[in-house]
């Protein structure tokens, strides 16, 4: 079936004229129509625009143009600004917001011939680990619709897992690509901070946010990242480092690859999770890699550090949503203060408010040093320890999440437990490192993720290691039942 084919295979069919982009687009639109009412993975479907873009791609193909993504459909997380199509960021605050411009990622994928099928559901303003904070309702996990798909990019993950699109974009601030990729059995990569432009991404925590990809394989993810990555003068934090040929690096041998095992990742890890990782390590050893034990003593501070830094930045980033220029405005404000209070009070959901309040608190006079400044110091220590570890090893390997997908509603009232979902993913964000999650087995019939973390700008190495694992295994090929 078309939806089982890799991006490479689809591009080949399109290039040889065996398939048109319009046909392919109709196929996926049909799947969205059929499956998404139950999954709720999309906030906005853009069928008409998709068919027009597909027709345009077909014209380009007919003119002899070619490209690895030309005519291939995709779904954007609803955090990327898309000109003319609502960008809600999962919030009532932006329910009526139509951006007058395209994010750099959107612009680049459009230029590459990508055909946008719609905008994916997500936790409100990317704040959440279960996709339950969305104003548009939770996304269901295609492996078990009583379970969450993870978050915040839950819609992108579920749509990719359910084969509603060959790939989807996401953003990862504390694990928002890797955690839902793990819980839905797909491959997700968060690149190095600065590798992909943040221009046009509704900001959550500016020093941590990074855009990435959900796909069904590392090879597909490499193809998409190739088109997304690169310096953007509109983002002062994007880095002007050449983008290597990710596809070409995939085939490299892993012989001699040094894989670091973080003591802190295995401390208290559930036995079944340990067993999955041991099995993955056996595969890597068979491919010629060796393992080295390493330790990052300050890594356990990741979660508290993150929950100071990220809220601090978000409390400031979300100040622009004041009911004055765009977005939600309360009815009949009495005065300016009433306009602010009610627009924000009614426009934001509880998790967003919790983080704005936390962030405001940690930046306040008298608390700044004890919280924000201390968190920055901890962040620096963690970053330094990662750097030191990468003088000994080429990659770090560990779990993506402590557990498989949990039940909808199970943790929604317990923020601390919810925050601990990101215990293994946050470190890479704090240090700005590239991280990837891919399926490595199941627990209770639900997919589990294996996480690879590389040094800064080592996306090629991370993708190479993931691809070699996927050549040797078939976890990534498994589809949730009913979506084959």
């Amino acid at each position: 079936m078309l939806h089982d084919l890799s991006i490479g295979a689809l591009a080949d069919l399109l290039g040889r004229g065996k398939l048109s982009s319009v046909e392919l687009t109709r196929h996926f639109l049909g799947r969205i129509e059929r499956y998404d009412p139950a999954l709720n993975s999309l906030i906005t479907a853009t069928a008409d625009q998709a068919l027009a873009a597909a027709a345009d791609a077909d014209r380009r193909l007919q003119r002899g143009e070619s490209g690895p993504l030309l005519g291939i459909p995709l779904i954007h997380k609803d955090i990327f600004c898309t000109e003319g199509v609502r960008t809600s960021c999962g919030s009532r605050m932006l329910d009526n917001f139509v951006a007058p411009y395209d994010a750099t990622v959107v612009e680049r994928l459009r230029a590459a011939g990508g055909v946008m099928l719609g905008k994916a559901n997500m936790d409100e303003f990317a704040m959440g680990s279960s996709n339950e904070t969305s104003y548009y309702g939770p996304v269901k996990n295609p492996w078990d619709t009583s379970k969450v798909p993870g978050g915040s990019s839950g819609g992108s993950a579920a749509a990719t897992a359910a084969r509603l699109a060959p790939y989807a974009t996401g953003t990862d601030t504390g694990g928002s690509i890797r955690q839902p990729a793990a819980l839905t059995g797909v491959t997700g990569i968060k690149p190095t901070y600065g590798r992909v432009s943040r221009y046009g991404i509704v900001a959550f925590a500016s020093s941590l946010d990074q855009a990435g990809v959900f796909a069904r394989s590392a090879a597909d993810a490499a193809t998409v990242l190739q088109a997304m990555a690169g310096f953007d003068p509109r983002d002062s934090t994007s880095v002007d480092v050449p983008v290597p040929d990710y596809g070409a690096a995939l085939a490299q041998t892993l012989a001699g690859l040094k894989i670091g095992l973080l003591a802190e990742f295995f401390d208290g890890l559930e036995a079944r999770n340990v067993a999955l990782i041991e099995a993955a390590l056996a595969v890597y050893r068979s491919l010629g890699a060796e393992t080295v034990d390493v330790s990052l003593p300050h890594l356990p501070l990741s979660v508290p550090t993150y929950y100071v830094v990220a809220p601090a930045e978000c409390s400031s980033n979300l100040s622009r949503f004041d009911g004055v220029r765009f977005g939600y405005r309360c009815e009949a404000p009495k005065d300016l203060m009433d306009l602010y209070k009610r627009s924000r009070g009614e426009g934001f959901g509880p998790e967003v408010k919790r983080r704005i309040m936390t962030g405001t608190y940690v930046l306040s006079a008298g608390y700044f040093d004890a919280y924000y400044l201390k968190a920055q110091k901890a962040r620096q220590l963690i970053t330094d320890e990662f750097r030191a570890a990468f003088t000994q090893v080429d990659l770090l390997l560990g779990p993506t999440t402590p557990t498989p997908a949990f039940a909808l509603g199970a943790k929604v009232d317990d923020p601390i437990t919810m925050y601990l979902n990101d215990i293994y993913t946050i470190g890479a964000n704090l240090a700005g490192l590239p991280g990837l999650s891919m399926p490595c087995g199941t627990i209770d019939g639900l997919p589990m993720g294996l996480q690879l973390i590389g040094p800064h700008f080592a996306e090629a190495r991370v993708l190479n290691a993931a691809h070699q694992y996927q050549l040797a295994t078939d976890w990534h090929l498994r589809a949730p039942r009913g979506y084959e």
């Binding site: 990327f80 600004c81 960008t87 960021c89 932006l94 917001f97 951006a99 007058p100 411009y101 994010a103 943040r198 221009y199 046009g200 991404i201 509704v202 900001a203 925590a205 500016s206 020093s207 003068p233 509109r234 983002d235 002062s236 934090t237 601090a312 930045e313 409390s315 400031s316 979300l318 100040s319 622009r320 949503f321 004041d322 004055v324 220029r325 765009f326 977005g327 300016l336 602010y340 405001t360 930046l363 306040s364 006079a365 700044f368 924000y372």
Partner: protein, 479 residues
């Protein structure tokens, strides 16, 4: 009042003369229709990001070098968080802990000629906010974001000034400097150059500073002087009547010439400053600083010193003529034509007739209706005794009105000076004959009448007689 010492520090906001805004590509021109110069970045649309304007950095560095300050190799942009409708992001991007310029100074000349050094603690880059418009709108406020994101250099002085006059002298000095450097147009009416004044008083001899009040947004030298004078009197009166000055922000009412409380320290916002994660630390390498240094013009103090030594001008004259680059250039062009030996004459004319004509017509020196070469042409006729200084003023007025040169006017109006001794003598003989009474009184010892005879001769010659010759010949004939 004599028991009290006044302590003043100024925070000057100079709008940098960049073409585009500090973090966006929108234009900065003044007076455009509301919100026609506000880009998505200025409007703080979701997803947009700031990109620093390199030209603003160059201008800040220029200023730093001109005040002998340290230019920081690494400075940091921070967010100052507060809600206001004219602040679209809900925070202002400014520099807080690590400004781009630190520890400079400027010298000012006080009325008694004493030179005083005013310390400049820091100068930092920041963005301006927009404007709220309340007039002409019922039950609503308008917001114009054209000004939002305009680059500002905030120049913070030490509390070194001891009177309103010193504060004004310092502010004028900074005003002169930023225009010399061409980093600010200095237009105070449009708000391109404005200041906040921190004012406190303490008893003479007391070490500790008194509690200060900050007077916001003063946009003329006169307002600075009046507002400080009012505030000083208010604080002294308050303390002397048993009250206490509270730390607060005050507004100056330019109609009533008084300051009013705006908000107290307790009501002040907690701005929750933190480094802006959207902007990398600003790193300035020594090569860039050297390059900027090489573009610095001759600075006002340097020019004044040169004028004093090169042309023998008084410090006052040298100061006036170097008050702007254009005026200095005008003066030097005149001197180049008439010769350095006649610089004093050139100075008197530029500061006298020319300045009053410019003031009268509200023109800048660059728009003078008499060009330097034309003024030099006029001075040349004084120097070669073709006309007297008095006639020259008349010629100047015609030059100003008609735009023609001195020689043409002298010829057309027949103003050429009479230097023919015989002709002057003939007139003198007539005048003496016609005024026997005055002659008798003069000869009886009323010396004052000498000026009467001079006046009569000049009147008879329509002012064209050479004054020195008139004096000499009159003395001979009257004795």
């Amino acid at each position: 009042m004599a028991d009290w010492e006044v302590v003043i520090g100024l925070e000057i906001h100079a709008q940098l003369a960049t073409r585009s805004k500090i973090f966006s590509g929108a234009a900065t021109a003044y007076g455009a229709p509301p919100n026609s110069q506000a880009s998505l970045v200025d409007l703080a649309y979701p997803g947009v990001l700031p990109v620093l304007n390199a030209e603003a950095v160059r201008m800040a560095v220029k200023f730093g070098l001109a005040i002998g300050a340290k230019v920081a190799e690494r400075s940091i942009f921070a967010r100052k968080n507060y809600f206001y409708p004219d602040l679209p992001k809900g925070y202002q991007i400014s520099q807080y802990e690590h400004p781009v310029v630190e520890q400079g100074s400027l010298a000012i000349v006080l009325d008694d000629g004493v030179v005083k050094t005013v310390g400049i603690t820091r100068a930092h880059l920041e963005e301006d906010a927009g404007k709220s418009l309340h007039e002409g709108l019922a039950h609503a406020s308008g917001i114009d974001l054209n000004r939002a994101g305009t680059p500002l250099l905030e120049i913070v002085s030490e509390p070194d000034m001891r009177s309103a006059k010193e504060a004004v002298a310092y502010m004028k000095k900074v005003h002169t400097l930023v225009r010399y450097l061409e980093i600010c147009d200095g237009n105070m009416q449009e708000g391109s150059f404005r200041c906040d004044a921190n004012v406190s008083v303490r008893r003479r001899g007391q070490q500790k500073f008194g509690t200060r009040a900050e007077i916001k947004n003063l946009n003329s030298f006169r307002f600075v002087e009046k507002a400080i004078q009012y505030e000083v009197a208010r604080q002294i009166e308050l303390i002397e009547s048993g009250g206490k000055v509270v730390q607060e922000t005050r507004l100056y009412d330019s109609d009533k010439h008084e300051t009013r409380s705006m908000r107290s320290k307790e009501e002040a916002n907690d701005y929750r400053y933190f480094p802006d994660p959207d902007l990398l630390p600003l790193e300035i390498d020594p090569a860039f600083i050297a390059e900027v240094r090489s573009t610095l013009p001759e600075l006002p103090d340097e020019k004044a010193a040169r004028f004093a030594t090169q042309f023998g001008l008084s410090p006052y004259d040298a100061g006036v003529l170097s008050a702007s680059r254009e005026l200095g250039a005008y003066f030097e062009a005149v001197v180049a034509a008439v010769g350095a030996a006649n610089a004093k004459l050139a100075a008197n004319w530029v500061m006298g007739e020319l300045s009053s004509a410019l003031n009268r017509d509200g023109l800048e020196i660059g728009a003078s209706r008499v060009a330097p070469s034309a003024l030099a042409g006029l001075l040349a006729r004084i120097l070669d005794a073709t006309i007297s200084g008095k006639i020259a003023k008349e010629v100047f007025e015609s030059m100003w009105a008609e735009g023609s040169d001195a020689d043409a006017i002298i010829a057309a109006k027949g103003l050429k000076q009479i230097t023919d001794g015989g002709a002057i003598e003939a007139v003198i003989v007539q005048i003496i004959a016609a005024n026997p009474k005055q002659l008798a009184e003069y000869r009886a010892g009323n010396d004052k009448l000498f000026r009467f005879f001079v006046g009569q001769v000049m009147k008879a010659t329509q002012g064209k007689a050479n004054p020195a010759q008139v004096d000499d010949l009159l003395k001979q004939k009257l004795s």
